[in-house]
């Protein structure tokens, strides 16, 4: 089907992942999942009550796959006790080494799934700057912060690149960058129609500026996590490679109980630094999830 919708993307994906399986999984519906909001309830208590919860997500203690058609009849959803969130998108806050009292920047925060997860790991102590650039997305972010009972978030509406002037201010930074969303095709086929190489090239430029600004805003010794829901190397390895070549950033290996492959060292004409292999590439067929890319960087 993808071949008919966007032949250019189909050929590109064959270079990224030559397996047949990836195309099978891009057409399968995505398993729904939720995260239990420990700001409002104990995980074990919610597990004991909610019969929609199925398997625990191996890389996130509070994450569960669920058997539910829609959430409108689930009291815990309305109360902000569970939050619908895709399984792979729970990864960035898990690896940010968060603790109560620290200062965190979530540069591209809306709709707020990762921001609320960050707040729960910080036990509502410290400060989160939850930023997004678009007004309509900010409203959803504010509504989700309210529902989850996040007390420590300051919501800002800025171009993320402007955070470069907040030099050495944050203990941890999340750059969950705007991307071409190829990894989310199985959730919405619209992303397949929209993709072009030109789109990824344009996004790559913005992503490089965002990661650099996030890195500047980070305190020495702090952790920056860069993530996208695309499989395109121009928006992933090329961005991390750019940061490593232009700063003193160090990349750290990510140890999680998840099936993934290392970042590419080479893709077509592009060659990346060897350290880029420490990034995680999660293709849809590996864990029956969306596609995802994540890198963990330290400011030395």
């Amino acid at each position: 089907m993808l071949k008919e919708i966007n032949p250019e993307l189909y050929e590109r994906l064959k270079l990224i992942d030559p397996s047949e399986e990836i195309f099978d999984f891009l057409e399968k519906p995505l398993r729904k999942s939720v995260r239990i909001n420990t700001l409002k309830a104990r995980t074990e208590y919610v597990i004991g009550r909610l019969k929609i919860l199925e398997d625990r997500i191996p890389w996130c203690n509070e994450g569960f796959y669920v058997n539910v058609k829609d959430f409108s009849s689930i009291p815990e959803h309305h109360l902000g006790i569970i939050f619908p969130q895709s399984a792979v998108s729970m990864i960035p806050p898990v690896i940010m080494e968060l603790e109560p009292g620290i200062k965190v920047l979530d540069m591209c925060a809306a709709p707020g799934a990762k921001t609320t997860q960050i707040a729960q790991y910080m036990e509502n102590e410290g400060c989160i700057v939850a930023n997004d650039v678009k007004k309509e997305r900010i409203n959803i972010l504010i509504s989700n912060l309210q529902k989850c009972g996040v007390l420590i978030a300051k919501v800002t509406m800025m171009d993320g690149r402007k955070f470069a002037k907040f030099e050495n201010q944050f203990d941890a930074v999340l750059v969950d960058a705007p991307c071409s969303n190829i990894g989310m095709i199985r959730k919405n086929y619209r992303y397949a129609k929209l993709w072009s190489l030109k789109l990824s090239l344009n996004l790559s430029k913005i992503q490089k500026e965002l990661i650099l600004a996030g890195y500047k805003a980070l305190k020495p010794g702090g952790i920056l996590v860069y993530s996208t829901c695309t499989l395109e190397p121009l928006e992933n390895e090329a961005v991390v490679d750019y940061l490593l070549r232009n700063t003193n950033a160090e990349i750290e290996k990510i140890n999680l109980p998840i099936r993934a492959i290392e970042g590419f060292k080479k893709f077509g004409d592009l060659e990346f630094l060897d350290e880029v292999r420490k990034c995680l590439r999660i293709h849809p067929q590996m864990n029956d999830t969306e596609g995802f890319f994540v890198a963990k960087l330290i400011k030395s």
Partner: protein, 109 residues
């Protein structure tokens, strides 16, 4: 709680906690979670059926007078105001469960 010292122009800082009325404090659902954990009085415990009716936006026939926080197991499900016969419901429309009571069955009985 320590105040965040970053100088930024924020659109929102924290959450909507509640509203001070002439006759008491009308808490949001989030306010009820925060206050409920430490409150010594003004808590009304409800059963599964009452909780679901409450979350659908219905009043509860419970003889209570004044503002109270409703508690369902370990959850706090909002703030209401009793007139002596029933508790008036303040759950906002966007936070209400939407299907008939008989179909709301996410919890293990």
């Amino acid at each position: 709680m320590k105040k965040c010292d970053l100088k930024l122009r924020s659109l929102q800082d924290g959450i909507y906690f509640g509203k001070i009325e002439e006759d008491g404090l009308r808490l949001s659902i989030e306010g009820s979670f925060l206050v409920g954990k430490i409150a010594k009085k003004g808590i009304v415990e409800v059963n599964d059926e009452q909780a679901i009716r409450w979350l659908k936006g219905e009043e509860l026939k419970i003889p209570y007078r004044g503002y109270c926080i409703l508690k369902w197991g370990e959850y706090f499900i909002g703030c209401g105001k009793g007139n002596g016969n029933k508790i008036l419901n303040f759950v906002s429309k966007d936070r209400r469960v939407s299907c008939p009571t008989t179909e709301v069955g996410s919890f293990r009985r």
